[in-house]
Amino acid sequence: MKLIACVNHVPDTATKVNVASDGKSIDRTGVNFIINPYDEFAVEECLRQKEKNGGEIIAVSLGTDVHKETLRKCLAMGVDKAVLLKDDGARDTFGVAKALAEYLREQAADVIFFGKQSVDGDDAAVGPMVAELLGIPSVTVVVKVAIAGTKVTAEREIEGGHEIVETSLPCVITAQKGLNDPRYPSLKGIMGAKNKPIEERPASPDASRSTVAAMRKPKAKAGGKIVGTDASAAQELVRLLHEEAKVI
């Protein structure tokens, strides 16, 4: 079985976001970058499917050289091969999806795993876009997946419950937290990953269809009110919510 995980390299979730001087991107000074948390579930799922069905795993990332750090992490976790599609521009999700799809079309994988979303742009779009470009099915926000022959049964999270989706290989799956518990790379894995090559290819030209006109921090809240310091404040709180905020 040929499995591919698409992985993004993003600011760690503890980052305090500041807008850079161009007014359109984040200030990267002092920001620590990590593998996109949802993409770890994608990589882990590849490893588990390989343990069951055998095969090969490729991790692919589109971006600058710094993405190699995330690709090394994937190698340390146990993927067989890492590919960097080199690009130093700021693409929108379609721009990313188009270039990934071009590489992925060549590879003809059985399953391509993505994260549910990148925690930088929060678009949740690249996975299904790639599937559409390749003309294959996609199941998003998946917390459970079973593959039997070419039949795929996946459980996806929806509002207030779960949906069971049936589809077939080849397909795209986007991983939600709960799909698995990603392993920590072993020391041996980490050491081994240092010497493994990362294949580099130029990403195909940017096909983005949107631009960021401006970026800013959300309006800060005006200072709140401490209603009290014990249970006796409950009446007043409820009154404020009812009469002032009018939300209950």
Binding site: P137, P218, K221, G224, S232
Partner: protein, 324 residues
């Protein structure tokens, strides 16, 4: 501009997020002397489609098929794309629900359209749409312009207002799309609803509990307050990771991003990842015994006190007020 809006339905009823999108479409249409066409997809949904008039749609399209009583990514992609093409719409609005987010990126690709996902506001500047969307789970916001002639936007639920329904029903045209086996390559075969549970992503009020509650058994207190307020129960990641609460209740950067009218955070410290998911709520109440907890920085109202004493008192006061 001609605007196609998908009014998402469940069990033959259009969801609130669907009407919010229709009304948002109408606002854009009014600014551009355009037309809003609502699209309802399902089985036996003509009546629901007529309701789109109440929220500002000029007309409605109904796509009915027995197999569409269940959701299918592939079929929805085809239907929405065909409806946009055949109606001549250049703008497509889709609610950013779990369903809308699932097929909207595919629709965008099929229409050769740019996509702006999970928008919280749309405005018109010189005839083009400017979409505002939060990024980094709300730590920053961007203004995005789509550069292709066709444009797809998904709209975050609970942010746009559906407004009061008028008495105008929309004329409903049946829209025929040929659907073959190939279009049902992925289908929903079963839905497991968490019994009667209100989901944080859809709730107007959320009561969330954190690690300060000391154990899963004390969430009864949170559930009782939620019950009185008609609220959903939410949780911090600390309690989800500890296995006290199911994952679908997690609010935050790696959980759900929510913007209810009222968010009550009980014994939650307010870590940056938690704030990211809930700080766009209209009103925030914090109940925490540590006056320096970061949650107070985003709270509109706070009680610095022991949750074990304060929460039951709030529940009792709310019960009294609401006559329950």
């Amino acid at each position: 501009m001609k605007i196609l809006v998908v009014a998402e339905q469940r069990d033959g009823k259009v969801k609130k997020a669907g009407w919010e999108a229709v009304r948002a479409g109408r606002t854009l249409a009014d600014a551009t002397r355009g037309e809003v066409i609502a699209l309802v997809i399902g089985n036996a949904i003509k009546e629901a489609a007529a309701g789109a008039g109440n929220y500002g749609a000029h007309r409605a399209l109904a796509v009915e098929h027995p197999r569409l009583s269940a959701y299918s990514t592939t079929a929805y992609t085809k239907i929405v794309a065909e409806a946009a093409k055949q109606s001549g719409a250049t703008v497509v609005l889709i609610p950013a629900t779990s369903q809308g987010k699932d097929y909207a990126p595919r629709v965008a690709v099929r229409l050769e359209a740019g996509l702006a996902a999970d928008c919280t506001s749309l405005s018109v500047d010189n005839g083009t749409i400017v979409a505002t969307r939060p990024i980094y789970a709300g730590k920053a916001v961007t203004d995005v312009r789509i550069t292709s002639p066709m444009q797809v936007f998904t709209l975050r639920p609970n942010v746009f207002t559906a407004g009061e329904p008028s008495a105008t029903a929309a004329t409903v045209d049946v829209f025929n799309v040929t659907l073959s086996e190939e279009d049902f390559r992925s289908v929903v075969t079963d839905v497991k609803q968490s019994s009667g549970k209100l989901d944080v992503a859809e709730a107007d009020i959320i009561v969330s509990g954190g690690r300060g509650l000391k154990g899963p058994e004390h969430f009864v207190m949170i559930e009782e307050l939620a019950e009185v307020l008609g609220a959903a129960v939410g949780a911090s990641r600390a309690v989800v990771d500890a296995g006290w609460r199911p994952h679908d209740e997690q609010v935050g950067q790696t959980g759900k991003t929510v913007s209810p009218s009222l968010y009550i955070a009980v014994a939650i410290s307010g870590a940056i990842q938690h704030l990211a998911g809930m700080s766009s709520s209209k009103y925030i109440v914090a109940i925490n015994k540590d006056k320096d907890a970061p949650i107070f920085q985003v709270a509109d109202y706070g009680i610095v006190g022991d949750a074990f004493e304060v929460v039951p008192a709030v529940t009792a006061a709310a019960k009294q007020l609401l006559g329950k």
